[in-house]
Amino acid sequence: MKRSHIIAIGIVAVAIGILISASQDVTTYANFAQAALSGDRVKLVGQLEKDRPIEYNPEKDPNFLSFYLRDDAGAVRQVVLRAGKPQDFERSEQIVLTGAMNGETFEAADMLLKCPSKYKDQEIYVRSEKSEQASK
């Protein structure tokens, strides 16, 4: 057998091995109900419930944030993230979490915020009299 064939076979074998082992790194998107059912780490997309309490009290613990999230299925659960609260948290229109359910709360290990872009923000700033004077 030619050496290149051996290498080719080797690479294919390694590739299959990696695919199998890497499949454990992959998780699916889920809602709260599915996350509770599987008990595994999942990705979860939802919206911040702005009317429910957002608890972040850095005087007590700068690494504890708790809030309520509505998932795609409409279920609302408490989410706990052991990290600081990002600056524009309240403005987020969508939140992507990685984590698992722990009883009735979702313990998030990682959070990504999607904030409204300027395009969707159909708001036109109207010049105040002051800034008009300044620009003259």
Partner: protein
């Protein structure tokens, strides 16, 4: 409707140039194609000249588009959506560039600009390769130009024009007014992008992106003309150039993330980062097979493949970052503009063209039947290229999960989609082995020769140097293990591989090229790789959050267990806080300039015995507010650099009242203020505290108060004590009346006591009444004269132009005179006062001076220059001291703290040094190729 004040001409010119640029690029591509097909006929020159001409027209039109758009941005023509969305009146000029390429259209133009610049160089230098290479470049240019066309075919829009008018893109009631333009102002640039990195990173990265088309086009040309060997030589320096520039662009992105963003690192395996790294990896693989092909004739097919796939991957990266598909997996993709379909066509067209050419010519490409020898350099270099390719496949596969999801959802709409649990951990785990292989291969292959057939002779040299490298690497591995926190054997493997390539390539430079650095490009790059890997180990394994204090927070916090998660620490103002790593941090102060609020945090280091080592520094992380000053929009880090490590800090949170004015107002309303009366020298007993009234001031100081001429200001000086403590905190509330603006009160916050003290309208009324109750008596006086006022002898010593009045802030045009008075009290004590008369902007002001001890007030009311007589007015307050009403709240939440994240990055400079060395090696090799090829 006829709108007032719009500038429509630049937009019309821009639209025309966009169409011209697109058509000219198409024409250039077509004529260059025909010229190539007829390269051996008489009509060749005519077609080629037409191709050149239309490429130049395309270039000029594109420059015209860029100029027009830039003009619109600098002139702040907000009738254009692009200007309205990205600039504002107060945006400093240097950020116009950032605003220009922040959006998709601007960055397409930037990409196009570099293609044109590279195209012109190729036109001059490529010789016989000009027509096929430029045919490819012009085709790509036509497609990029189509991205900004903004033409409608029924409902389908081809491209997004940067010259759209705001009123066409948006439906708002304001456009019902003809003079809407006078009423709107620009959105301005996101403060995160107001940064010099945003000025230099995109042009470099896009030059890197653009330059990958050159090796691609040469590869296409080689296949097209069936000249499978000739193209290898001119393509190599271009590939080296591209590798150096694209690498620099990526490195700058990492440096930006590390230096100026609060990411807390230089690499996060974010999809946007990955998709620019992957083409660089395949390009480097291509450079290696290109070298093999030039030296031995092996690997021509794979060189074709690598250069072709590199550009396709650049297009794929463009698709991922611009189509919005990364949605919830990336923190920093472009705003989606509905170009996804066009981008897929772009990838599809080039993939099909390249794939078809490669497949159809595959069998004709010369290859050597006999296998590479196991001891030859080409064999192991090829293995290295395969390892690189493997790395690219792994990263791309994981990064493409959102694309797989989309595809599966096309057929099965119920599919929920898959995602990586922890991308950083996933990529690190696999790329670690890539790093190990690369380290070993780059170390070993350097000592092998091309076309090695006689394995016995060479084996002696190889084995000798191999032993040197292994021994050296073992020693260095042991030494580095002393400072690295290695807790798994895999990291030892990576460290050893890194050290192996460093030692082996150093050995190569010394013994093989004998220190001739001109020939050491590859060895320098490989040493750079080794140093970079060491730096990655240092920053990755030894990265330590020092913003944590298990000791101080123990028991205070519920549910805290996971040590690694404790990455933030609360710093109360002026209260030193011990932290991990024997540091003590103190939040000293904050200052506000424009929208930026900068915090000063002092770090002091202690030794193991707890004594201060004298090592001390102050860092200045800041946050930026939006223009309404209601929200924090960016948090910028501040880093202390040492040779061996960095200490990186940023403000991760602030009291909510500082972040959100609406909340602050609500909080203010919820405070329970109780009224009290202050009498100088007396003590006020509040519910939980007592306050000593030290006095009052007409020139009070307050952090939020900036004195202006004409202000009437009044402040109380208090010291606040808690009932069970003897430590007093200053509390200085004040109020002021500014002519034309009204009265303002500035409360004093005593964060430590959760106390807020403020003066109210009642205090203002009382104070004004005190002022008004003064009964001034006027005395015209000349210098040297003395009068008697209720037993006080007042001498007018002299008129002075030297103003020492504390309430006076000089301006150049001022005319100001002070009357220096000497007062002798009945008991013989002497005092001095100097009231001021000021003319500013033809407005007279009188600045009062007073002697509170005596209750005497002085004004300089008039100056008669003819008689040199000054009118001085004197009044004496009634003997009884007046109380000032004030209000005290004792339930004010603390707002004098910051939440800080602080990280130590050991070995970060190794990352920079290694990367720069690697890129420098690429650049050096390119220069060397050009010099050698010239001869």
């Amino acid at each position: 409707m006829e709108y007032i004040g719009e500038h429509l001409f630049p937009g019309q010119l821009g639209h025309f140039l966009v169409v011209l640029s697109f058509v000219a690029a198409l024409l250039s591509g077509a004529t260059y194609f025909l010229a190539t097909q007829r390269r051996n006929t008489a009509s060749f020159e005519g077609w080629r000249n037409l191709g050149r001409f239309s490429f130049l027209v395309h270039g000029l039109a594109t420059l015209g588009i860029i100029g027009t758009l830039f003009f619109i941005l600098t002139q702040k023509y907000y009738e254009y959506q692009y200007a309205w969305a990205n600039v504002s009146d107060d945006l400093p000029f240097q950020y116009t560039f950032s605003a220009f390429w922040k959006e998709q259209q601007g960055s397409f133009l930037l990409w196009s600009f570099w293609h044109i610049a590279l195209g012109l160089v190729l036109m001059l230098r490529a010789g016989k390769w000009e027509t096929p290479v430029l045919a490819v470049v012009a085709l790509a240019e036509a497609i990029i130009a189509s991205m900004i066309l903004g033409l409608y075919f029924g409902d389908f829009r081809l491209g997004a024009s940067p010259f759209d008018l705001l009123r066409q893109t948006m439906d708002a009631p304001i456009f019902a007014q003809a003079d809407y333009l006078a009423q709107i102002k620009g959105n301005g640039l996101n403060p995160l992008l107001q940064n010099y990195w945003m000025t230099i990173h995109p042009p470099t990265l896009f030059l890197g992106f653009a330059s990958t088309i050159v090796p691609f086009a040469y590869a296409m040309a080689g296949l097209w003309l069936r000249e499978h060997k000739d193209w290898l030589k001119p393509a190599l320096p271009w590939a080296l150039f591209s590798g150096a520039i694209l690498g620099t662009g990526i490195l700058m992105g990492g440096a930006w993330a590390y230096e100026a963003l609060s990411f807390g690192g230089y690499w996060a395996w974010d999809p946007v980062e990955n998709t620019s790294l992957v083409p660089w990896i395949t390009l480097v693989a291509g450079i290696h097979t290109n070298l093999i092909a030039r030296n031995t004739g092996y690997s021509i097919r794979s060189t074709y493949g690598f250069y072709l796939i590199t550009f396709i991957l650049i297009l794929y990266s463009t698709y991922l970052t611009r189509s919005g598909i990364l949605g919830d997996t990336s923190a920093h993709a472009f705003t989606e503009m509905g170009l996804g379909f066009q981008l897929i066509l772009f990838i599809g067209l080039f993939s099909v063209l390249a794939g078809w050419l490669w497949a159809s010519r595959f069998r004709q490409v010369p290859s050597i039947e006999k296998e590479e020898a196991g001891a030859s350099r080409e064999f192991w270099m090829f293995i290295g290229a395969l390892v690189l390719f493997f790395s690219a496949v792994l990263i791309t596969g994981a990064t493409s999960l959102p694309v797989w999801n989309k595809i599966v959802q096309l057929f099965n709409p119920d599919y929920v989609g898959a995602a990586l649990k922890d991308p950083v951990e996933h990529h690190n785990r696999y790329q670690l082995w890539i790093a190990v292989f690369l380290g070993l291969l780059t170390g070993a292959a350097q000592w092998l020769r091309y076309n090695e057939r006689n394995e016995k002779i060479w084996a002696k040299t190889f084995i000798r140097h191999f032993v040197i490298a292994v021994a050296g690497a073992a020693v260095l591995t042991a030494l580095n293990a002393l400072w690295l926190n290695i807790h798994a054997w895999q990291y030892f493997a990576m460290l050893f591989a890194a050290m192996f390539t460093v030692v082996s390539n150093l050995d190569y430079i010394i013994f093989f090229v004998k220190g001739n650095l001109k020939q050491a490009g590859s060895a320098l790059s490989h040493i750079g790789l080794g140093i970079l890997l060491l730096g990655i180990l240092g920053t990755g394994l030894n990265k330590e959050w020092i913003s944590s204090n298990a000791f101080a927070m123990d028991g205070l916090i519920e549910g805290m267990g996971n040590e690694e998660m404790n990455q933030n620490i609360l710093l109360l103002k002026d209260a030193p806080m011990p932290m991990r790593g024997n540091f003590e941090a103190t939040y000293l102060e904050d200052t506000i300039v424009r929208q930026t609020r900068t915090f000063s945090v002092r770090f002091k280091k202690r030794d193991d015995q707890g004594n201060f080592t004298g090592e001390e520094f102050v860092l200045h992380p800041n946050v930026m507010y939006d223009r309404q000053f209601t929200k924090v929009v960016a948090s910028n880090p501040s880093t202390k650099h040492y040779l061996t490590r960095d200490i990186f800090t940023h403000v991760s949170s602030l009291p909510k009242a500082e972040l959100d004015q609406e909340f602050a107002r609500q909080q203010e309303d919820s405070l329970r203020f109780e009224p009290y009366e202050a009498l100088v020298g007396d003590t006020i007993f509040a519910k939980k505290h007592y306050l000593v009234v030290d006095g009052y001031s007409k020139t009070p100081e307050h952090p939020e108060y900036k004195a202006q001429q004409g202000d009437l200001a009044f402040g109380l000086k208090l010291r606040a004590y808690s009932l069970d403590d003897t430590l007093g905190y200053p509390a200085n509330p004040m109020l002021y009346i500014r002519p034309g603006e009204g009265g303002f009160t500035l409360p004093a916050n005593v964060g430590q006591l959760q106390m807020r003290v403020r003066l109210t309208e009642a205090s203002m009324g009382k104070w004004l009444a005190m002022e008004e109750s003064l009964d001034f008596h006027q005395f015209p006086m000349k210098a040297g004269e003395t009068i008697d006022f209720q037993g006080y002898k007042i001498q007018f010593a002299k008129a002075s132009r030297e103003i020492k009045h504390p309430g006076y802030a000089p301006l150049p045009e001022d005319i100001a005179v002070a009357a220096d008075l000497e007062i002798t009290a009945p008991d013989g004590q002497k005092f001095a006062a100097s009231p001021v008369y000021l003319i500013r902007n033809s407005q007279p002001f009188s600045l009062k001076d007073e002697l509170p001890e005596l209750g005497l007030h002085f004004r300089l009311e008039n100056i008669d220059p003819k008689t040199e007589t000054l009118t001085i007015a004197v009044a004496r307050a009634s003997g009884e001291q007046q109380t000032i009403p004030l209000e005290i709240a004792e339930n004010a939440p603390r707002s004098d703290y910051i939440v800080l994240e602080a990280i130590i990055f050991p070995g970060i400079n190794l990352v920079w040094l290694g990367s720069i060395l690697m890129l420098f090696g690429l650049g050096l090799s390119m220069w060397r190729r050009l010099m050698v090829d010239k001869k």
